[in-house]
Each structure stands twice: as C-alpha cells, then as structure tokens.
C-alpha cells in the first residue's frame, strides 16, 4: 500500500501515544539513588544530638560556674586594693586579718571559743564598730571570697562557731587556699562580678579534609580520591562570661577539597565537544564530590594538559583532578576551661558553624602543570558543620596571649546533596589573642 506520508511523519505519529511500562526495578533503582527526606531527618537528628551533647557537657561541668566569677586566682589586681595594701594601715590590718583568719580557719579550736569581738576595719582600722557577718555559715565560699576582697567585716565569733559546728575538713582546706591568695592583689568582688571580657584573635590554620560520603545517592568515595591539605585564616571574637566559660564567633576563610589520581589503567579524560566556554559536559566525569563542569573549552591548545583528537570530534584534558571549595565560616562555639595554670590554660570547645561557599574550582594537574578547567556542579552554597577542639592558651602578658587549637570539623549537611559529600576536617589553628 502506497502513501503520501513520509517515513518521518509516520514514525512521529507512531510515537505520539507510544508507552512502555518500565520494569519495577527501575523505580527501586531511582529510590535508592534519590536524596530522600530521611536525610533531612538525619540532619535534625544530628543537630538534636549535638545540642543534647552540649547540654550534657554543660550539666556535667557545673552549670553554676557559667556566669559567676568568684575564683581569686583569676581576679587580678584592682587598683583600689592595691592602694589599700600599699598603705601602712592596710598593711597592718591585713596582717592582722590574715593571722586571725588563719587561726579561725585552720586549727579553729581555740579561736572558736573567742567571745570578745575583735574588730578590724581595713578602710578605717582605728574606728571601733561592730563586725557583721554578711553571710551565714552555709554560704562560706562566698564569705571567703569577700574576705579575700578585703572589703567585708567579719564577726569572728559567728564564723568560728559556724566552722566549729559544721565546716568539713575539705572546706577548711578550701578556705586556707583562698586565704593564702591574700598575698596577691585581688580585685573587690563587687567590681569584678558578672563582668564579660573580650578577646580578639587572629588565627591561621592548616587543615586536612578527608573525603567521606554518607547518604550519597550517586557516588561513594573511590580509592583513588585523596584529601587535601589547605591553609585558612580569620578573626575570632571571644566573650569570656566567667573564668571557665567563654563563647566564640568570628569569620574564618577555609578550604576543603580533594585530589583524584589518574591511574595508568584508568586515566581521567575530561572531554569537551567544542572549545566554547561554558560547555556542559556533565556526565563525563564524576567523583565523590560531584560532577565536573568543564568551562575551559577555549584553553590554548599548547597547554600541556590539553589533548585533542583528529579522529574524534572531541578535545579535552587528562591528568589528576584537583577540586577546591572555599568557604567563609562563621562559628558559634562554647568553650570551657579545664585547667588554668599561671603559665597556660587548656580548654575544650564545641559548637556549630555556618559555612557560605565563596569559591569553587576544579583543576587538572600533571606534575607541576596545573590548569583550571571548571568547577564542581551542584555544590550547596550554605552548609552547616560541627566542630570539637582542644585549645591551649599561653598568656604573654595581661593583654596578649598565644593560642593553639587542634580541631575536628565535620560537615553535618552535605556539600553536594546528591553525592552525600560530607568531609571530615582535621585542623590546627594558631593565633595571637588580644584581651580587652
């Protein structure tokens, strides 16, 4: 039978309502590779777990110390006290008080029976008046602190009786230690309590980002992919709310990335159909970070990394593939001082960071020859990370200090959701802090 309908149109017509039922395995394969909602749930689980961990740590480390400055060792000289100590009257009074306190607090027996009120007024040593106890025996630490501050009048009898009746030996030791601090200049408690101190630090870090992939629907980490060392730096602002607790934020510029090595049997060849910039070759090459987009089609042909073929209408690059993602990080960290020595202090820090993508580059590398070829597709411009660190601070003076902090950082949201790229970064930060 002859027709006037060309074969093209006949074929087009035959396809208009043509359908073929896909095999059930096709959907299963799609589901397995799709980033599901459960990954979002997983993110909330991560965040909840992080928040719970911080809460537990705070609880274990005595929450009451969070905003309460009462440790004499950390309350450095106040000018008023210094002047007091320098005056003859204060010297004499301080000597008396110290002696009396030691008598009261250490052996306690004989002095506990002292009934005649002895009066010592540091500011007006010659003025007679009644001593008053500002605190009861149950509040002995606070009382002791006030005694250290030289600005509280003691009722020796009341204190002695309280000590005799209820103070444990350990508390006596605590008193003794505090009183010994009388020798050092100590600021009055009223002027230093609840004071927030600021520290600004410039830091630089060296980091190693290890490629890890979880929930990756399209790709897992290949054996020929390696993490990269990188440098970063920035400013940190630390608010010290108590001798032990401080909170940190700032701006930090850092880099994560990886190198995928080309092996002899499997060279990485990135092809471009022509040399026009912006050509999408998505699908030609992908790794755990994502899919590469080559934008260097117009690369000069004399570049050693550039290959072309006369037999096939393609041209492209071959070599190791280097991918960099630069992020601006804004951290929110809590820091707890574990040990506080005169020459150093050690603290643990933990928290979350917001990371904003600043730059995204892909290179081909052959030896020392490095050519930028494009970037990694579908990288998330905003990701969250958690970090955990241990910091060492060495004060150089009251104002300056040296900071060193090994830190572990994990991206809780994927840098590339489809590929589940969540690198783990190990870094060492070092910097100089200025305290205000």
């Amino acid at each position: 039978m002859k027709s006037t309908i060309p074969v093209d149109q006949q074929y087009q017509h035959s396809m208009q309502h043509f359908e073929v039922a896909p095999p059930p395995a096709a959907w299963e394969g799609i589901v397995a590779r799709l980033p599901q909602q459960k990954s979002r749930r997983a993110l909330w689980i991560w965040l909840a777990a992080g928040a719970a961990s911080v809460t537990i740590v705070v609880g274990l480390l005595d929450f009451s110390t969070l905003f309460d400055i009462r440790e004499p060792a950390l309350q450095l000289a106040g000018s008023k006290m210094h002047e007091l100590q320098m005056s003859e009257a204060a010297k004499a009074a301080a000597g008396t008080v110290t002696t009396e306190k030691e008598k009261v607090l250490i052996p306690s027996g004989a002095l506990a029976e002292t009934t005649a009120p002895t009066r010592v007024d540091l500011e007006h040593p010659a003025t007679p008046a009644h001593w008053t106890a500002h605190r009861h025996a149950e509040s002995l630490p606070a009382l002791a602190m006030r005694s250290v501050g030289f600005d509280v009048r003691f009722n020796h009898t009341a204190v002695a009786k309280a000590l005799k009746g209820s103070v444990e030996e350990s508390e006596k030791r605590a008193y003794t230690r505090m009183l010994l601090a009388d020798a050092a200049p100590v600021a009055p408690i009223e002027s230093s309590s609840r004071r927030i101190r600021y520290q600004v630090a410039g830091v630089a870090n060296s980091a190693y980002a290890s490629p890890t992939s979880s929930n990756g629907s399209l790709r897992t980490v290949e054996s020929d992919e390696q993490g990269r060392m990188s440098m970063g730096g920035g400013l940190a602002l630390r608010l010290q709310t108590s001798p032990r607790w401080s909170f940190e934020t700032g701006v930090h510029y850092g880099r994560v990335g990886q190198k995928e090595r080309a092996t002899g049997s499997q060279p990485i060849v990135l092809t471009a159909a022509d040399r026009s910039p912006g050509l999408d070759i998505a699908g030609n090459h992908r790794n755990s970070m994502g899919q590469l987009k080559v934008t260097a089609g117009a690369q000069p042909a004399m570049d050693n990394n550039f290959i072309s073929s006369n037999t096939r209408p393609i041209s492209g690059f071959t070599g190791d593939v280097l991918q960099h993602l630069d992020y601006v990080e804004i951290p929110f960290l809590a820091r707890y001082r574990l040990w506080n020595h005169a020459l150093w202090s050690v603290a643990v820090s933990a928290g979350m960071s917001a990371n904003v993508l600043a730059d995204n580059n892909a290179y081909v590398v052959n030896g020392r020859n490095k050519t930028r070829i494009g970037y990694t597709e579908s990288i998330d411009p905003f990701v969250l990370s958690t970090s955990l660190g241990v910091s060492l601070e060495v004060p150089l003076s009251r104002t300056f200090s040296v900071l060193v902090e090994p830190r572990m950082k994990y991206f809780v949201t994927s840098l590339n959701e489809s590929f589940g790229y969540q690198p783990l970064e190990l870094s060492v930060q070092a910097g100089l802090g200025i305290r205000f």
Binding site: S14, A26, R33, S217, A273, N284, T311
Partner: protein, 186 residues
C-alpha cells in the same frame, strides 16, 4: 500534557519540590511509561533504556526546584530525559569515523511513493538503525531539533548530521520494504 492533567499534577510537583516520596512516586507512575517509550526508541537495548530512565528521573527530582510552572511539565521532563540520552550516547560514542555530507551521495526517494508502514514495525526498525543514525533521526523527527542543534548536542558537524539523517531514512526504507516484501511472499 493535557490541561486537566496539569491541574492534577501541579500540587504533585509542589509536593515533589518539598521532597515528598509519595508525590515522586505518583509523578513517576504518570510519566515513566511515556519516558521509557522514548528511552527504548533512543537505545539499543532495554538495559540501557532503563539506565537512562533512572538517571533522567533522578535528575528530574533533583532539579524539580527549578521548574517554574511556565511550560509543560511533561515537556520539561522529556527534555531532561532526552539530554540524559544524549549524554549516554556521547559516553558510548561509536569509535568509527562518521560520514560527512561532502562524501555522501544524496539518495532521496519520491515521497509520494512512500509505503504505509505499521507503527510497530516502524518503531522496531528505528531501534535497529546504526547507533548514530538512530540518534540523529530521533532528535530530528521526535524532538524537532535543527541540524545545528543536533550537531552541537552530539559533538558532530552539521554536514554529518544531515548525512546521518538521510542515511537513516534510506536505511529505514530499505529494511522496511524488504520486510514488507517478505511478508507479502509469506
């Protein structure tokens, strides 16, 4: 896609944009048979067709946030699936050089004498075309791309695209008519 179906599918697309698995499944059920039909016509075997269908739908769901409801959703999905098929073709590009128009002897037949083929044998014949002919023929006839667009998509010259299309037509006529003659004899 018909308007009525469009009305049904719009809330589904919005739910898909929120990543709801049930909506993804419904959209897949609605469109997969048609898209698999397309994949079958572009590929040499069912396995490749299934791979392309899966990859295509993964891209659809990954990029569904970018769909702005400004055109046909089915057309949008089809473009993604066809782009996936093109990439698949380029990855498995035939190694042998392809003909250019300069070396090609034009062999058009009279359209008025075109036999009327059955839809099934026509579709099956297209799947048996040499791979590059099949791709060019499908892009030209089904997607209605120009030779310039086909050349850019496949990384070939415009002349090659034209020659491939002509050869595909001739190949189809030759094989379909010989098949028809065999049928008549039997």
């Amino acid at each position: 896609m018909a308007d009525t179906q469009g009305l049904i599918i719009k809330p589904l697309i919005k739910e898909c944009q929120q990543g709801k698995p049930q909506a993804q499944r419904t959209i897949y059920d609605l469109l997969a048979p048609k898209m698999f039909g397309v994949c079958v016509q572009y590929c040499k075997n069912r396995d490749d067709a299934q791979d392309c269908l899966q990859e295509g739908f993964i891209r659809v769901f990954s990029r569904i946030d970018t769909f702005r409801f400004e055109g046909s959703f089915e057309g949008w999905v089809r473009r993604i699936v066809v782009n996936t098929l093109i990439e698949h073709f380029r990855k498995k590009r035939p190694e042998s050089p392809v003909e250019d128009m300069a070396n090609f002897q034009h062999a058009e037949t009279d359209a008025e004498s075109e036999p009327l083929y059955s839809e099934k044998e026509l579709r099956e014949a297209v799947t048996r075309l040499p791979r590059q002919y099949q791709m060019v023929f499908n892009l030209y006839v089904l997607e209605e791309l120009s030779h310039e667009e086909i050349a850019k998509s496949l990384g070939i010259s415009v002349g090659t695209s034209k020659s491939n299309l002509s050869r595909a037509r001739q190949w189809l006529r030759d094989h379909l008519s010989s098949g028809a003659q065999q049928n008549e004899r039997s």
